[in-house]
Amino acid sequence: MEALGLLMHGFAVLLTWKTLALMMVGLVLGIFVGVLPGLGGPNGVAILLPLTFTMDPTSAIVMLSCIYWGALFGGAITSILFNIPGEAWSVATTFDGYPMAQQGRAAEALTAAFTSSFIGSLVAVLLITFLAPMISSFALKFGPPEFFAVYLLTFCSFVGLGREAKHKTVISMSLGLLLAGVGMDTVSGQLRMTFGSSELLRGINFLVAVIGLFGISEILLTMEERLALRGHAAGISLRVVLSVWKDLPKYWVTLLRSSFIGCWLGITPGGAIAASFMGYNLAKRFSKDPDSFGKGRIEGVFAPETAAHASGTSALLPMLALGIPGSGTAAILLGGLMVWGLNPGPLLFVEHKDFVWGLIASMYLGNVVGLVLVLTTVPIFASILRVPFAAVAPMIVVSCAIGAYAIQNAMFDIWLMLGFGVVGYVFKKIGIPLAPFTLALVLGNRAEDAFRLSMIGSGGDMKVFWSNGLVGSITTLAIVLLFWPIIDSVFGRAVRLVGSKNNSLSKT
C-alpha cells in the first residue's frame, strides 16, 4: 500500500489554489477544444502546450492533462447533440446518442455519456495507480537491449494491429523515425541529413510537426466539408441526472466490460479508437435485445464512452512507466515532459515522485471536477457551435503559429509548421495514418540510442536481442505482432480446414 501513501502525498501537492485554478482553466479550454469542429484532444494539447513553458512541470502537466480530459468530455457533447463526432473515438457514441437526442432524451444521453466517461477513466486511473509503479520498478532493471525491444514492440504492434493498409503505416513510421534523426547525432556528434542548412541543425522539433500535422491540416480538412449544423439544445436538470444514476447498477456488466476493453486497448499502442467500437459491439452482441441498439438505447452510450475514456486514460500508463506513449495525445504529453527537462521512463517514479504522483492525483481530481463542470455547463458549451467557423479558423491558425514559434523562437519553425500542415492534409486524405508518425518522431532518437548502445555492448552481435528470457520474449513478441495479419490468416485457414474435416468426418 505504498502507492496509497504516495497518492495522498500527490493530493497534497495538488491542493493549492493555483493548481486548482489551472485545473479549471485546463478543463474549460479542453471542453472548448473538444466541442469546436476542427480541433480535438491532440490538437488542443499541442496548441496550448506553449502556454505551459513558463510553468513548473507539475502545474504544467496538470493543466495539460486537464485539457485532455476536457476534450474527451467535450467530444461527447457534439456527438450526441449534433451527430458530429468531435473525435474518431466518439463515432460510436453517435450511434445511440443522437437518436436519443432526437427523441427528446438529450439530457439523459449526455448524463449517461459523462457518467460513463467518468467511470471509465476512474477504472483506468486506479489501474495506473497500482500498476504503473510496479511496471516502472520492474523496468528499472532494463538495459538498452530491453528498451530497444520494447520500442520495437511498440512500432511493430502499430503495423500489425493497425486498421490501415500496412505499407502506409510503415511509410508513416519510417518517415517519423528518419525525421527524428535529422540534425546532430547524439552519439558521434556528426551532422546527419541537414544538407548544409543551419536551420536543420537543431533538428525537426516534434511539437512543431504535431501542431502542423494536427492543427493546420485539420482546419484545411474541416473547410472542405459543409459546415451547416442542426442540433438539439439541452439543459441537464438534477432530476434527470439522479434518474440516470439510479439505473446505473443495472448496467454494471456493460460498464465493467467496456472499462476492461478500454484499459487493455489503451495500454496496447494504437488501440484507443478501436476501444470504443469494440465496447459498443460487445455490448450489442451480449445484449438480449441487440436490435434495439442504434435506436436510442442508453447502453449504446454507456458502452463506447466508458471504453473510450478508459483507453484514453490508460494510454498514459506506458508513457509514465516506460516512457512509451500509448496514443497520439500521450505522445504529445511526452514531448511536453522533455521540454520541461523531465526524462520520461521508469526513473521518473524515482527521481520525480512529486511530479508523477501529482499527475496521478490530478487524474482523479480532474475527472471529478470535469464531471461536475460538464453536467452544469452543457448548454453554454453547446452554444459555442453558433460561433461561425470563419471566426474560429483564423484564431486557430494564430494559436498554432504562436505555439510553433514559442518552442524555439525560430521563424523557420513557422514554415515547417505550414509544410507539415499540407503533409498532414494530404496524408489524411490518402489514408496514411498520422499516429505512428507522431510516435516515431518522439521516440526515434531514444530508440536509436538504445539500439546503438546495445550494439556497442554486444560488439555488433544481433543475438543480444535474444540474450536472455526477458528481452528474447519481447523481441519475439514484436516480430509475431509485426506479421500478425499473416499469422492470423494462415492460422485461421488451418483451423477452418481442420474444422471442416471434422464436420465431414462426423457426418459420415
Binding site: R226, L227, A233, V398, A406, K429, R452
Partner: protein, 180 residues
C-alpha cells in the same frame, strides 16, 4: 420522433456544392506522394551512406540506423506506387473537388500570407489582419464585428503571452512605436 426541439442552427452559405467536378483522383495523388517519398528516401539514403552507414570499431556509424530506415521507407513507397498503379481509378474515388479546393485555398492562402506578414509586421498585427480579413471576406461577417473580434482576440493573446507568460513573439514597427 419530433424535430421540433432543434434549437441550434448554423448555416453555411458558402458550402462547397456537392456536384462540383473533381480536380484529381485519390489514385493520382497516391502515385505522386509515393514518388515524392521514394525520392526523399533515395536522397536521405544517399546522404546517410555518405555519412557512413557501416560499422567501425565503436559500433554502428552515425548513418547506419537512418540508412536502413531510408531503405524501409523506399521499399514501402515503392509498394504503394505499384498498388496505386494497379488499382482502378474509379475504385479509389475523388481526392478533392473544385469547390472543395477553392475553400481549402481560401484558408491556406491567407495562412501563407499571414506567415509572410508576420516577419515584417510582427505576429500580433498580422493576427489582427488575418482574423479581420478572413471573417469579412470568407465568412461574410459584418465589418464592425470582424474588426472587434480580431482586436479583442489579438489583445487577449498579447496580454496572455507577452505580459502574463513572458513568451516573446516576433514583433514589428507597431510594437516598437508603442515601446514594447
Amino acid at each position: 420522433m419530433s424535430n421540433t426541439d432543434i434549437e441550434i442552427v448554423v448555416d453555411d452559405p458558402t458550402a462547397p456544392e456537392a456536384d462540383s467536378p473533381a480536380v484529381t483522383s485519390t489514385r493520382v495523388v497516391e502515385i505522386v506522394v509515393s514518388l515524392l517519398l521514394l525520392a526523399l528516401a533515395l536522397t536521405l539514403g544517399w546522404d546517410n551512406w555518405r555519412t557512413g552507414a557501416a560499422w567501425d570499431s565503436t559500433g554502428p556509424q552515425a548513418g547506419y540506423f537512418p540508412f536502413y530506415l531510408s531503405v524501409i521507407l523506399g521499399g514501402a513507397s515503392l509498394y504503394g506506387l505499384v498498388t496505386a498503379f494497379l488499382s482502378r481509378s474509379e475504385a479509389t474515388g475523388t481526392f478533392v473537388t473544385q469547390a472543395q479546393l477553392r475553400r481549402v485555398l481560401a484558408v491556406f492562402v491567407p495562412t501563407l500570407l499571414f506567415c509572410l506578414a508576420m516577419q515584417f509586421l510582427g505576429l500580433y498585427v498580422a493576427s489582427f489582419l488575418l482574423i479581420a480579413a478572413f471573417m469579412r471576406m470568407v465568412g461574410k461577417i459584418a465589418l464592425w464585428k470582424s474588426l472587434l473580434t480580431a482586436f479583442v482576440f489579438t489583445a487577449v493573446m498579447f496580454v496572455t503571452f507577452d505580459i502574463a507568460f513572458d513568451v516573446i513573439m516576433p514583433k514589428g514597427p507597431l510594437e516598437a512605436a508603442l515601446g514594447r
